[in-house]
């Protein structure tokens, strides 16, 4: 049955007072009613900022997510999953019992040989979590991490694997995780989009990434991720046209408001009020985005800690600092894509370069959030769309989906632990297996959401991030 529409109702009964109270027919009263539409009593809220959930389903451990997506598929066997048996088998035929009938990407039809991990591992921190020694900075915050060594995915090609990792489905048009969070929880900022995507590219192994990965799918497009560009303007069309100063732009927006207000006196349409509000927010964004991009307030020590070579250079390091700034400003979902890990060949060298670009900044981000007291309510996920085969592919490794590693940190995560394991060759996840739906369910749970209950009706179906699957993995949660 059609829900009662409080805005329309409010407009209808308050029309007179609504029109007289505000200067040009629109103003705070309109905002109030728009806020009312979303089911909340908060009269100050702008329309962008509220989600559909009236109250959290579960205790809220994290308020925002920073997803450091290592696009291309970093090799778990070099980074988080030490396999001495595999090292011993290096160069020899890979046992067919593991690979028979399994999905294989570029190694289709090739002779399969084991490839031992290229780097040494070290036990880090008090927890003694085993992590590669080419990740000294991530290692140094090992006590904050929960390394999941038993993740499984279903998709073996990049594009579809990203889609699955982001939306829980390869059915096209499913909303991505960030859109779900925004839809459910709303944003905590009125000056910035609630879901922001930053991309950076490494020196090798660069895989393309499609903008549909941050699409809102069947959810309204206001929930889509907004990509900050590394070239040109950070946000499309954020700058005034050349030759239009900020005071002129303000005049324009005021005039638009007045004229729309005159229109609203004759045409009672809540969309007009919404549009006026959106122009106000656009104007705010025009000053908040440059302020956001301006790293002047960051100390030289901070810049150095992240390993930023040049401010605003679009590097992963620069994006990590940006992620912290976005988190501070109340952005709900911050997703960084670093395209560097598709190491079919030249793995050793690619790993060294990847580590140089990623390790320091990741470590710095976690430490920085911790020092600012923000790690407690920020959920960090670090990982790729899949892992890489324990079989070698020339000088590299192929795509691998049957078991790989990611780590989580921050809000509600059981810090200084590992969860799950793969078999002795790092092929199949065998202990405490976590699939992508489980990971999603757990992340939503940490955000206070029961994944069964965040859904939207589409074509008669209840669409969810976790589809009809997913279980919350208690072992990851503190």
């Amino acid at each position: 049955m059609r829900p009662y529409d409080p805005v329309a109702h409010a407009l209808s009964i308050n029309r007179r007072s609504f029109l007289t109270k505000s200067a040009y027919g629109l103003g705070s009263a309109a905002f109030a009613m728009l806020a009312a539409k979303s089911g909340f009593g908060d009269l100050q809220a702008a329309p962008f900022s509220k989600g559909v959930l009236k109250a959290p389903h579960l205790p809220v451990k994290a308020k925002r997510v920073i997803f450091l997506c290592m696009a291309g598929g970093p090799p778990h066997l070099e980074l988080f999953d030490n396999k001495p048996v595999l090292r011993k088998l290096h160069g020899q035929a890979f046992p067919e019992s593991f690979t028979k009938g399994q999905q294989i990407a570029q190694l289709q039809g090739a002779v399969l040989k084991a490839r031992g991990g290229s780097f040494e591992f070290k036990k880090w921190g008090k927890s003694g979590t085993e992590i590669t020694d080419i990740f000294p900075h991530i290692g140094s915050v090992a006590d904050e991490l929960c390394v999941v060594r038993s993740l499984k995915t279903e998709q073996i090609n990049h594009d579809t694997a990203h889609a699955f990792f982001n939306t829980g489905s390869i059915i096209k048009g499913r909303p991505s995780m960030g859109s779900w969070l925004l839809y459910g929880l709303g944003s905590e900022t009125e000056n910035l989009p609630g879901y922001i995507v930053l991309t950076s590219a490494g020196r090798t192994g660069q895989q393309p990434i499609s903008s549909r990965q941050w699409s809102s799918g069947v959810l309204p497009s206001k929930y889509q991720g907004i990509q900050f560009q590394s070239k040109g303007e950070a946000v499309h069309y954020i700058g005034n046209p050349e030759g239009v100063c900020q005071s002129t732009q303000r005049q324009v927006i005021d005039e638009i408001r007045r004229l729309n207000g005159q229109l609203a006196q004759e045409t009672v349409d809540p969309e007009i009020a919404t549009r006026v509000a959106q122009y106000e927010m656009a104007f705010k964004m025009q000053s908040s985005v440059p302020e956001l991009l301006d790293f002047k307030s960051e100390s030289a020590k901070t810049i150095e800690a992240y390993g930023i070579k040049e401010i605003g250079d679009g590097s992963f390091a620069s994006n990590c600092l940006m992620a912290r700034r976005l988190a501070e400003r109340g952005v709900r979902m911050i997703q960084l894509y670093h395209r560097a890990w598709d190491l079919h060949g030249g793995l050793d060298n690619g790993m060294k370069m990847g580590a140089e670009d990623v390790d320091k900044a990741t470590g710095a981000l976690i430490r920085d959030l911790k020092e600012r007291g923000m790690l407690d309510d920020t959920l960090i996920l670090w990982g790729g769309e899949f892992g890489r085969t324990p079989m070698g592919q020339g000088t590299g490794r192929d795509h691998h989906i049957a078991g790989y590693s990611v780590f989580l940190a921050g809000g509600g995560v059981k810090a200084g632990t590992t969860y799950g394991a793969t078999d002795e060759l790092g092929y199949n996840a065998v202990e405490n297996v976590v699939d992508v739906h489980d990971l999603h369910a757990t992340m939503l749970a940490l955000m206070g959401i029961d994944h069964h209950r965040l859904n939207v009706k589409f074509q008669g179906l209840d669409v969810r991030l976790t589809g009809v699957a997913g279980k919350v993995v208690k072992g990851i949660m503190a």
């Binding site: 570029q106 206001k222 070239k231 002129t248």
Partner: protein, 1043 residues
């Protein structure tokens, strides 16, 4: 099924029913409840039935489940287990279970109870019953049949409909709805001046006859067709499908009936003697994405594409969402998984692989292009060129045939002459004998007639070739390596890397004596006739040798490469490896080892080796190997010639200019080249081409391509009418079944979408879903009447638009009263005219039209308007669509449906205004209202330039500033501004005039936006100030809204 008359909409049923005596209806009242809360476990999906109970038919519900209790006893709610389960407080027994998170309201439970009490009559899903035309109720004054159906629900609600909208508003509404552009000045004046009753129908006829109608209708159809200019997925390369877009535009403009429109797109290729256009139409089902990622699994993507066709067909024509059926029976609709794959069988026999074509060699998927089957579309001129070239080729071949191949006398002369010449020159390079080649990994070798080796097979990251042979002569002074291009190699180049390059990282020579002992032959020098910068051959020698084992080169990256990634370098290359002169004992073998270890999978694709016993100082890279080979043959005494030698000599003669056929052969070659070029010139489009023998189809268990289930045959859904008699059981029959007039969905879907286009919401709000989860129609009789009327009018789309737009309902003013808002907030009863934001394309096109910039040219290839810097490169530098450069001329100002569409980086402004991403079929767009839209309209070059041109036009109008402002206002929203509105604009304009006069540096900056010329005669400060005011107008709610 005849839908019963309703005086109320579903929206207010609950409240109304409790007080009314009207009987509860299963479809309207109960099915939505059961479908939402019960059917997931007690519905059509056989595999998910819990407790053995189904509630989707009375028979099953009576029988009950495992518990043996009748779930429903008609007339007796107290005896019905369903009621007990709904009402019980016991959490173990309560339905739906708590973990399902579905709760029925008290009203809903009461409704179920009443329905049981009244006899629990089930009905088949309304949308699956062929509509029967209801009688038209009395037609209200000033209205048509449509108003007749709308009248009584309005009256029942006590709502008095609005009168007609002001004429200017009305014409703008109709023009934007039908053509996507505002009405022209001439149309507007004619309409305002015409006070006759014919004014409106005439205006509609003018709009329907406009060529812009076809463009505007096509924009939505391209969403359904998932049209794009790129292949999608990882490399997202170019494809050429615009001829299909042109076909769609023309079909709409020609008012092709919807049945023919459907049949041609789904099965034009299967029509008897199809015309070219009918085959172009089948591009509809080639518009899906094609995966070109390395490591893709062909069978998987083949299945994905066929499934995409099923889902697209289901959504576009039937409003059915079937993607869940790929894995299991439908949860809500009577469609089984088996039926889904029976439908699969209609679409799986296209003559295709299922993945992106490999352009320019195996594994090449980054160059872009059209994947077979394709249709070539020569223009008339091109066809003439092709015909002429074909005639020339035939004539040349005829001429060649006339000259005998066997020319013994000429041959003898030629041979004598050649031998005399050769005796004066020596032979520097000798061929190897008894060659054997092997690979360390998985490459395979084939010896060609010219003594070269062509490599195929696997492309391991690191590969080593080992050649063993018997050298001629008894001294080894040098080895020559020739790398040769071949058509079978990537880009027809020399190397096996996907770009056509190779990197040779080591070249080792050994001698193996008859006793099996191997000695390394040290290299002294290496030189090549071409080196890729940074990859010179000198790095290969000298290589320190120890006991026949090469030391690992110190620099991993060292090697000889030939830049085969560039087309100009795909020519034969030579390298000479000088060795310290080594005597060759009798019976010894030479072993050459070629390593490719520097760069992954960069091995040589075709090569030939020769040895020399001549003093190395006499050897030159300039020697032509072919000529040398010929010399060698000619030097041999006749009696020593082998059969192969004789054949080779005959070939030399045949290829020589002295052969009597030589000229004719050259002419054939030239004619063939011209013919090939003529054939390659026309644009192509991907089309459907049915295989002579259909492929088998199977149920894919859990929807996975590699889990093959039982074989299935082509068959239609049992829940829908059967195939019309006499139709073939293929795509053509399927298409005709959709439009035979008895199909319950096709007509309803189309008229509902037409309604949605004109009223903002369909009569069925869930226009994307007509399955059992569909919303109950707001006016079922009207929906059915329209659907049958559409078929009766022979699927005439223009006539049906005109019919709907001739209703009083369409023409109503959008003014709202509080009573209306309260009683019908969503305007489902249509007491007022609807008001909604324009689609993405229309917002941009309207701005171009208002400014006078719009280039009114129809059809043709896609164009590149302004887009943000690096719009294609932010996320990908693969493929051939990168480094976006906007056009510099007319392409900047064409209608938006011609904008080039790269799927992974779609035009940002279109996406911000809720355009579909064109990844897959999208039948409904959202309509959002965001700050990003404001930023785009305020700041994007397209809109700033449009404002500048609008300002320029305004300043050229007669009269003072106020008169010009009034004109500008009218130009933008097509009505006169009120004094209050114009006053606001005037005040702002004056402020800006002062601003730009005060700072002369500002205006030139603003006016530099956009490439359209800047008039020299207008004052810059004036023009800038007016530009900002024009921009203000382009941003008004009214401007981006049609009301």
């Amino acid at each position: 099924m005849r839908l019963s008359r309703l005086s109320l909409t579903a929206a207010c049923l609950l409240g109304a029913l409790s007080a009314s005596a009207e009987k509860v209806q299963f479809n309207r009242d109960i099915r939505p409840i059961f479908s939402d809360t019960c059917f997931a476990c007690h519905g059509p999906d056989e595999n998910k039935i819990k407790g053995g109970l189904r509630l989707d038919s009375l028979e099953a519900a009576r029988k009950g489940g495992k518990s043996g209790e009748a779930a429903i006893v008609p007339g007796k709610p107290e005896a019905s287990e369903v009621m007990k389960r709904l009402r019980t407080e016991d959490p173990d027994d309560h339905m739906p279970p708590a973990e399902f998170h579905k709760v029925l309201s008290k009203d809903q439970i009461a409704l179920v109870e009443r329905w049981i009490k009244e006899g629990a009559e089930y009905q088949g899903h309304w949308a699956f019953q062929t509509p029967v035309k209801p009688a038209v109720p009395p037609i209200p004054a000033g209205g048509n049949a449509i108003d007749a159906f709308l009248a009584s629900p309005l009256a029942a609600k006590g709502l008095a409909p609005n009168g007609p909208a002001p004429k200017a508003t009305l014409l703008r509404r109709a023009a934007l709805d039908l053509t996507g552009l505002p009405p022209s000045d001439a149309d507007l004046q004619a309409f305002l001046a015409d006070e006759s009753s014919e004014a409106w129908p005439k205006a509609l006829d003018r709009l329907l006859a406009s060529p812009h109608y076809g463009e505007h209708m096509a924009a939505q159809w391209l969403d359904f067709a998932r049209y794009a200019d790129s292949n999608g997925f990882q490399s997202d390369t170019k494809r050429t499908m615009w001829p299909y877009r042109d076909w769609v535009i023309k079909a709409f403009n020609d008012n092709q009936p919807f049945d023919a429109f459907t049949i041609e797109q789904l099965a034009g290729d299967l029509l008897p003697n199809p015309t070219r256009d009918q085959v172009v139409a089948t591009a509809f089902h080639r518009n899906h994405r094609l995966n070109g990622e390395g490591g893709r699994i062909v069978e998987e993507w083949f299945a994905e594409n066929v499934i995409d066709r099923i889902e697209t067909t289901g959504s576009t024509w039937m409003g059915l969402t079937m993607n869940c059926c790929r894995c299991h029976d439908h949860k809500y609709d009577p469609i089984s998984q088996k039926e889904f794959y029976q439908l699969f069988a209609y679409f799986n026999s296209n003559d295709e692989t299922g993945v992106l074509g490999e352009f320019g060699g195996s594994g090449r998927t980054r160059a872009g292009g059209n994947t077979p089957p394709v249709l070539s579309l020569p223009t008339e001129e091109q066809q003439q060129t092709i015909d002429a070239a074909a005639a020339k080729l035939a004539a040349a071949e005829q001429a060649l045939k006339a000259i005998p191949t066997d020319q013994p006398e000429a041959y003898a002369d030629w041979l004598a002459k050649q031998r005399a010449a050769v005796s004066k020159v020596g032979v520097a390079w000798e061929p190897l004998a008894n060659e054997k080649v092997s690979a360390k990994e998985n490459a395979e070798f084939k010896r060609l007639d010219d003594g070269s080796w062509l490599v195929s097979g696997g492309t391991a990251a690191k590969e080593t070739y080992v050649l063993e042979a018997k050298p001629s002569g008894n001294l080894l002074t040098a080895v020559r390596l020739e790398a040769l291009p071949d058509d079978s190699l990537p880009n027809k180049s020399l190397g096996r890397a996907s770009n056509g390059n190779f990197v040779l990282s080591a070249f080792e020579v050994r001698l193996e004596t008859a006793d099996g002992k191997t000695t390394a032959v040290p290299l002294v020098k290496a030189e090549a006739d071409f080196d890729q910068p940074g990859w010179t051959i000198t790095k290969l020698a000298p290589i320190p040798m120890a006991k026949g084992k090469a030391k690992k080169p110190s620099d991993d990256k060292a090697g000889w490469a030939i830049a085969g990634n560039e087309a100009k370098n795909r020519v034969p290359r030579k390298a000479i490896f000088t060795v310290s002169p080594t005597p060759i004992p009798a019976g010894a073998k030479i072993v050459v080892v070629m390593r490719h270890e520097a760069v992954s999978a960069h091995s040589i694709g075709r090569f030939r080796l020769n040895t020399s016993s001549v003093d190395a100082k006499l050897l030159s890279l300039k020697t032509d190997p072919a000529a040398e080979n010929a010399r060698r043959l000619l030097a041999k005494p006749t009696e020593q010639l082998t059969a192969a030698d004789r054949k080779a000599l005959a070939k030399l003669f045949a290829d020589s200019p002295e052969h009597p056929r030589a000229q004719a052969v050259a002419q054939v070659a030239a004619a063939k080249m011209a013919h090939d070029a003529a054939l390659a010139a026309p644009v192509t489009v991907m089309v459907m081409k049915e295989l002579p023998k259909p492929r088998d189809a199977f149920v894919l268990l859990r929807g996975e391509y590699d889990k093959i289930g039982p074989k299935v045959e082509r068959a239609l859904f049992r829940a829908l009418p059967p195939m019309p008699a006499g139709e073939p059981n293929n795509r053509l029959g399927l298409a005709r079944w959709l439009v035979d007039g008895k199909h319950p969905l096709t007509g309803r879907i189309w008229v509902n979408r037409a309604w949605e286009r004109l009223f903002g919401l369909g009569l069925v709000k869930t226009s994307e879903n007509f399955g059992s989860q569909a919303e109950w129609p707001s006016n079922p009789e009207l929906l059915d009447w329209l659907a049958v009327e559409f078929v009766d009018r022979k699927w005439d789309m223009k006539a049906t638009y005109k019919l709907i737009m001739s209703s009083a309902a369409y023409q109503r003013s959008a003014a709202v009263t509080p009573a209306m808002l309260e009683k019908d907030p969503d305007n489902r009863l249509l007491a007022r005219g609807p008001r909604f934001r324009l689609p993405a394309e229309v917002i941009r096109d309207q701005a171009l039209w208002i400014s006078g910039l719009l280039v009114d040219q129809q059809g043709g290839p896609s164009v590149k308007p302004y887009m943000p810097e690096a719009v294609w490169d932010e996320t990908s530098v693969y493929g051939d669509m990168r480094n976006y450069k906007a056009d510099t001329g007319e392409g900047l100002w064409r209608r938006s449906l011609y904008t080039i569409w790269k799927r992974t980086a779609a035009p940002p402004t279109m996406m911000l205004f809720d355009s579909s991403g064109r990844e897959v079929c999208t039948v409904k767009r959202s309509r959002s209202n965001t700050p990003m839209q404001a930023l785009s309209l305020l700041n994007e070059t397209t809109f700033v330039e449009a404002a500048r041109k609008l300002a320029e036009q305004s300043l050229r109008r007669p009269g003072d500033a106020d008169a010009r402002l009034a004109w500008m206002f009218r130009r933008v929203v097509r009505r006169d501004g009120t004094p209050a509105e114009l006053a606001v604009l005037r005040k702002g304009l004056d402020k800006r005039l002062a601003t730009y006069a005060a700072d002369a540096t500002l205006a030139p900056k603003l006016l530099a936006q956009g490439l359209s010329p800047l008039p020299a005669d207008l004052d810059k400060a004036q023009l800038a100030a007016w530009t900002v005011t024009a921009n203000t107008l382009l941003n008004l709610d009214e401007t981006v809204t049609r009301e």
